[in-house]
Symmetry: C2
Subunit: 425 residues, 2 copies
């Protein structure tokens, strides 16, 4: 196989072009292949149309030597990938009894009988290697054609992921497609804009012509990837550059890789054997969800209260009614009472709270739509701060959660350096 | 402009191919263009590489007459879309003072000064129409070239969406690109597999050769789109077919369009002026979040308790300690106590609860990883049911929430027909 690989992904399905489903396969495969030292250079998204799939394969064969298709292997009539790839490669489809047996076995496991429509899935492209589907009926296929390889993966995510990891990756390794180590490092930062990140790291990256920089901003979080497509630098050298970037980023540095703000907080709290409870009004559980996305969160995360209604704030969080009357539910005073109530009523060391107007309705002169108050209760004191976001309801919610988590992250890092402060806002 | 349009989207950015960012622009544009009667036929995802962008534009011009690019209009060095499109079209870039004034105005609004790197964004392709950016610095461009149109949109979602809606759509309408009405209907179902949906609706769709069917399954929800690309059928006729499908789907029918399970529940409760509270253990706020994604949720959603730790179940939800000791936190008995506690302690008419092992750790012989118990408290009684899912932690959480919401939806629909039952599991 060649020293330099061009990787192309063909994601197939009308639903992707019609906006019914988001192309998360590209995200998953792009990331996993990068970790194997294979950078995706092209992706075509095409409908379940045999002619269009054929043209896409023909185009891909002119420029790429590893082509991965997703989708269109199902039993229904619109699934045409297998047939179209065979045609584009000038290869026959051959009925394979072993596939039928695997499908029958799969159905017996989930106590169902095999239906005749699944016969369609028992055909393989001549000369192909079959990739077993652990979670469904459609087998994958791995076809070599000249100096290129075409791998066909199923569309459902829970079928695609195990097949990619357990079947395709070993095949790629056996064909020497994969590099020994990853050729990129990812650095996550928060609380700083994309162009500021780029400016800050200039002293390091401008000296490295072989390093490509990719930046991605998402709801207040900026991901920076240093990639060396030529593999001129080894992973350890990339990591050294990344350490330099970390220093330049200072407090804005969240972590390497995909670490979430909630994970950083959890790791700090776990070390000090401390716990956290949350109180959420407009974010409605999104912040708690961030912590429970982490396996083993129970060591630090006690839970929280979604206090959408004001009486829930009073009943579950002991927010004084006077605060609601005098300052309103969307106020720094209420955020502080919520954070304190969460920590005290749920027996946690820390409390983090969010109250605000996520929009599009609500808001008043002092607190227009998009105004968010965050409360933070700690063994050192309790504070509130406010932020304001422009955007849709879901964006405002997600940004509010990131702002709260980032604040707590910074406070935890600095709490040793800071003096105990009194409860004031 | 032509009667039949081929629409192609070019999403540009290394981060999309490296798996740092998911291509949600295709989802958004695919859906919005469908609503305008424009079906996207191709999408190319390409890196910020001038040569690759040029090739992609040249290919697109051979087969599509409406080409929309996203990304690569920013001020940083890797942003090369404007330059590459100009080159591919054989057009010049011209400096435009008005753009510089707009950028200066934008920065003064957010109390920042304009930086020299933004000069790059002040160039427009000759003969292009400028599309104002309400939420950022990069203006969009609308270029006519022969019988084709190329529209350049910025990458950040919060900039792209208002520019698409407020600038590009009016331009497309003025050039007669858009049909008068949508050419598809979307039907959402839940609690039934993709192939069963396809079988159920066969009697209707097999009579309609001009109708294309696209199916998409997502965490237990199946979306079915009936589309008439030839516009042979009018919207009202498609809607009639959709009504037929609704009848065939029976209780599995959730709604037309993108309506969420939480919205269906909220609408029913709003009519009867009843309220809901939730209690979540392993889903950690994800169910509450589904309700607070709905603007105006406060009319029916009182809030909830994220009871990750057992003492929070006892303290906030009055779950009897005996239940935790005898049956454990992951049990139907605990789910019932949680649902009852949520409704009673938060003064709601209904309570919905989830407890389970989302994995990858935890679980025991009776309740392996993926086991979820759902509790439902209503004025008619309180019940629990259990479900089991295979998959990663985040998938199990999302499926558990959908299962709970779908159960409540069905119970609300049928509660009138059912007799009052006693508290039993």
């Amino acid at each position: 196989m060649p020293n330099s690989n061009t990787v192309e992904i063909l994601t197939i399905g009308n639903e992707l072009l019609l906006g019914i489903r988001t192309n998360t396969h590209l995200t998953y495969l792009g990331k996993q292949l990068s970790l194997l030292g294979l950078n995706v250079q092209y992706c075509q998204v095409i409908p379940d149309d045999p002619k269009k799939i054929q043209s896409a394969i023909v185009l891909a064969l002119t420029r790429s030597n590893l082509i991965i298709t997703t989708g269109g292997l199902g039993p229904t009539e619109d699934d045409m990938t297998r047939e179209s790839v065979a045609f584009a490669l000038g290869k026959e489809l051959i009925y394979n009894d072993t596939i039928f047996e695997s499908i029958t076995e799969y159905f017996s496991k989930i106590s169902r009988g095999v239906s005749s429509i699944h016969k369609k899935q028992c055909f393989q492209i001549e000369g192909s290697t079959i990739m077993k589907n652990e979670r469904g009926t459609a087998p994958g296929l791995f076809v070599e054609s000249g100096s290129s390889v075409v791998a066909l993966l199923p569309g459902p995510t829970h079928e695609l992921i195990p097949m990619f990891q357990n079947q395709l990756v070993p095949l790629l390794k056996s064909k020497s497609f994969c590099a020994k180590e990853a050729n990129y490092v990812q650095i996550r930062s928060c609380g700083i804009g994309e162009s500021s990140v780029e400016e800050l790291i200039q002293p390091i990256v401008k000296e490295q012509p072989s390093v490509e920089v990719a930046l991605c901003v998402h709801l207040g979080v900026v991901d920076l990837r240093l990639c060396c497509p030529s593999s001129e630098l080894e992973y350890s050298e990339l990591m050294q550059l990344a350490e330099g970037c970390r220093e330049l980023l200072g407090d804005h540095f969240v972590g390497f890789g995909e670490v979430s703000l909630a994970e950083v907080i959890s790791n700090i709290l776990r070390k000090s054997e401390q716990t956290l409870a949350v109180a959420e009004s407009c974010t409605g559980g999104l912040m708690g969800n961030a912590f429970t996305d982490i396996s083993g969160a129970s060591k630090v995360f006690k839970g929280g209260v979604i206090c959408y209604a004001n009486d829930v704030k009073v009943l579950q969080l002991s927010v004084p009614e006077e605060i609601l009357e005098q300052h309103g539910a969307v106020s720094g005073e209420c955020a502080i009472a919520m954070a304190s109530g969460a920590a005290e009523n749920l027996s946690a060391d820390y409390g983090l709270s969010i109250t605000g107007f996520a929009g599009p309705e609500g808001g008043d002169a002092n607190n227009p739509v998009g105004t968010i108050h965050i409360g933070f209760y700690s063994p050192f004191g309790v504070w509130a701060k406010s932020v304001r976001y422009i955007g849709g309801r879901l964006d405002v919610k997600a940004r509010a959660v990131n702002a709260a988590l980032d604040w707590m992250r910074r406070e935890l890092i600095y709490q040793d350096k800071r003096q105990r402060r009194d409860c004031s806002i």
